[in-house]
Amino acid sequence: MSKRIPLHWRLIPHRYRLLGSECKRCREKFFPKRTVCPNCRRRGQIEEVGFSGKGEIYSYTIIHVPSRGFEFLKPYVMALVKLTEGPLVTSQIVDCDPEEVDVGQKVMLTFRKISVDGSSGIIRYGYKFKPKTSLSL
């Protein structure tokens, strides 16, 4: 993972607040954001849009051999979350026993630390999802 700060900094609004895009012409919503609508291309009218953060698990895996920077989390759940507005999002699922995660489970947005660059690098934050029934904030 790169230590370069702007690489993360410029995506902060989208990673912190789940901002994506909507094409005002075809009404399809996109996450992550796009500058060109794949349906309408030059005729599209892309605008920024916020997502509710509600959705359900479309597919998931429990990662036992982690990526660099995620070792301390293992085993952890990665899922494709289908947002109520349509798009799929790749995200960690937290605040639950990995063995109890299931396809179709309702989940909601939460804000967490994602990864850290060693002892002196930047700390990256962003979205994760947790079971909707969870009491924790």
Partner: protein
């Protein structure tokens, strides 16, 4: 279709972990073997293409088109590196095909190479993860096996595909690899070995994953006219197609059908004027065992969702309905990423020439290769025939 394109020579290194050998040594061995096999000389070569995914990260070397031409003793010859993650080799083959088809070149040497063991496994994994969307997938901690695990889970749920069916692919590919002297792993594994191997990304286990490998492969392509002059047993490329999909898995309409593979397959079948039922054998991209099921479905060898059953019924072994990955596939032959697409073309050539020895598919006339980049964002499909 203006010109025909043929494979007139092939050569590859053994695949494996070679601490004593570097990038240059591997690709020049494969290249020399192919040129000798083609019975041509350096002065006959019009251009060189090299498929290589990540030499920058794996050996700190970019600019490998010129490097390969240089070390092959071909300074001055047009040379270009081609990259599309794990389908870099297939894409290089497609570019070489186009170059001959265009009429500009008559003889093109196309190689694929990756030197992956000069860095730690962890570092190699980071390099490979570069095929995924760095900002919206890798950032969150998903691994490559993880992406395929997401596909596997959904496939199991939607179509009833079982862990056993997925595991049988590794068993079959090891059985084939045992017959291939170029394979990294030339031994059998049992279903129990596979199903009890350590979990990597649930439901995918270690023995469902292709290994980290050093290796190189090269083929020599020629225009139809040249091929007839210099070669007694040309193998004809009847179809060469490339398609793309969204870079990230989450951008797709379906995660259980590899759309780029279906599109490239359809195009290649049209070019070759054949149907999937006329394909005698195929080399497909089994980077993870589930990918072989996705491949045979997207290429039309069975209906979508029926790949698991087809494997369980034993229809993909050598001497069965449609042998898949007679070479051992990526699982047993090994997966030196950039070389894989070219090594598939070499297996197809050997099969069609009748030179595949113990893994020979009897009466093979038409073969297909499918090479996938990333989680399916790039796919190349080639169809080879012994007849023009």
């Amino acid at each position: 279709m203006a010109r025909d394109v043929a494979v007139i020579g092939v050569g590859m290194t053994k695949f494996g972990e070679f601490w004593d050998r570097g990038y240059r040594s591997l690709i020049t061995e494969a290249g020399s073997k192919a040129i000798i096999d083609a019975r041509i000389d350096g002065k006959d070569i019009d251009a060189v293409y090299v498929g290589s995914m990540s030499p920058g990260r794996l050996i700190g070397q970019e600019h490998v088109g010129a490097l390969v031409a240089d070390y092959a003793g071909l300074v001055g010859v047009p040379a270009a590196r081609v990259e599309a993650a794990c389908s870099s080799g297939g894409l290089a083959l497609h570019q070489a095909y186009l170059a001959i088809k265009s009429g500009l070149y008559d003889i093109v040497v196309v190689g694929g190479v990756e030197k992956m063991t000069d860095v730690s496994t962890e570092h190699a994994t980071v390099a490979l993860a570069g095929a995924a969307d760095q900002e919206w997938e890798a950032f969150h901690g998903i691994t490559f096996p993880g992406l395929y695990a997401l596909m596997a889970r959904r496939h199991m749920m939607d179509y009833g595909t079982t862990e056993e069916q997925i595991s049988l692919i590794s068993v079959k590919n090891h059985a084939n690899g045992k017959l291939n002297p170029y394979a990294q792993y030339q031994y059998d594994v049992t279903l129990e070995d596979v199903m009890k191997s350590s979990m990597v990304a649930d439901p995918l286990r270690l023995m469902h994953c292709s290994p980290i490998t050093d290796g190189a492969a090269t083929v020599v392509l020629a225009s139809g006219e040249k091929a007839k002059k210099v070669c007694e047993n040309p193998i004809w490329i009847k179809g060469s197609a490339l398609a793309t999909d969204t870079l990230s898995l989450h951008g797709r309409k379906s995660i259980t059908k590899v759309e780029a593979s279906a599109m490239a397959g359809k195009k290649a079948y049209q070019m070759a004027k054949v149907k999937p039922s006329k394909i005698d054998f195929a080399e497909v991209h089994d980077c993870f065992a589930i990918a072989e099921i996705l491949a045979i479905e997207s290429l039309g060898f069975c209906k979508i969702g029926k790949g698991g059953e087809m494997v369980e019924n034993g229809e993909t072994w050598i001497d069965s309905r449609i042998p898949i990955n007679t070479s051992g596939g990526l699982k047993a032959k090994g997966h030196p990423v950039g070389a894989t697409g070219i090594a598939q073309a070499i297996e197809a050539t050997w099969q069609l020439r009748g030179q595949a020895d113990k893994r020979q598919v009897k009466g093979a006339k038409t073969g297909l290769t499918q090479n996938v980049g990333g989680s399916g964002a790039t796919c190349t499909v080639h169809i080879f025939s012994e007849e023009k």
